[in-house]
């Protein structure tokens, strides 16, 4: 069965998004690996006097970073897959 131009566009968009998400996850993983490698070597005990606002630990941002990258990947796939299914059904 021949694909319609819309389906071709969405397939193209899907593969592009897939590529972006893979690179994004790789950057996140590699970045956090380097970050923790450095922190383990030169560790200082943070306190209310050194943390921004007195309580914002680095690990909070690490959790937020991982969550954002995972959520961005997951929602991206769900949206584009639903769109592909919608186009195929149409």
């Amino acid at each position: 069965m021949e694909e319609s131009p819309d389906q071709i566009r969405m397939t193209w968009f899907f593969w592009l998004l897939l590529g972006v998400e893979i690179v994004s996850a790789a950057v996140c993983f590699w970045g956090l690996k380097r970050l923790y490698h450095y922190i383990r070597r030169y560790r200082f005990d943070e306190s209310v006097y050194t943390l921004p606002f007195g309580f914002m630990h680095l690990r909070y941002f690490v959790y937020f970073y991982v969550t954002t990258v995972l959520l961005a990947g997951a929602t991206g796939f769900i949206f584009v897959l639903s769109l592909l299914n919608h186009d195929l059904a149409a």
């Binding site: 819309d6 566009r9 969405m10 193209w12 968009f13 592009l16 998004l17 972006v20 994004s24 950057v27 996140c28 970045g31 380097r34 970050l35 450095y38 200082f44 006097y49 050194t50 943390l51 921004p52 606002f53 914002m56 680095l58 941002f61 937020f64 970073y65 954002t68 990258v69 961005a72 929602t75 991206g76 949206f79 584009v80 639903s82 769109l83 919608h86």
Partner: protein
């Protein structure tokens, strides 16, 4: 010979990452909005899809850049030891620079806190006058009065060989 001991350290004031902290949730919301638009039942032209793809790519890069800026903030530290002051500027990937100033090269330490903004948020700068060289300024020092006293205290305990 005495062993080098870390006596004090601090990151720059949080005002340095404040714009990033504001933009971070906005970028995430923009990312979700682009995806919602893509999934809308309206037919997208090839030009529209290209713009959306570029937009998503841009937002992905922006989100990574924002997080990496925050990590750079945490990694960049000013450390005062019993021998020197070390100013580290390190990022996760592309930057790793270090300036070390011997305590016995420091002739004078000045603290500057000017303007409403600096007083309101409690930060300032510390200027180190060095023997036979240009003065060195450490900007965005949080609790600059405390850090100033601490550095003076460390310098006054310096044992000249």
């Amino acid at each position: 010979m005495d062993e080098e001991v870390v006596l004090s350290y601090f990151h720059r004031h949080w005002i340095q990452i404040f714009p990033v902290l504001v933009l971070m949730p906005l970028s995430c919301v923009a990312y979700i909005l682009v995806l919602l638009y893509v999934s809308s039942p309206t037919s997208h032209t090839i030009l529209g899809i290209s713009f959306l793809s570029l937009g998503l790519l841009f937002l992905t890069v922006l989100i990574h850049h924002q997080f990496l800026s925050v990590f750079r903030y945490y990694l960049s530290t000013v450390i005062a030891t019993n021998m020197r002051i070390v100013i580290l500027d390190k990022s996760v990937f592309f930057k790793d620079s270090m300036i070390a100033i011997d305590l016995n090269k420091i002739q004078d330490i000045q603290r500057r806190q000017t303007g409403l903004f600096q007083h309101a948020f409690g930060f300032g700068s510390i200027r180190l006058t060095l023997a036979g060289g240009e003065p060195f300024e450490i900007t965005l020092v949080p609790q600059s009065d405390f850090q100033f006293k601490k550095l003076n205290e460390i310098k006054s305990h310096l044992v000249v060989p």
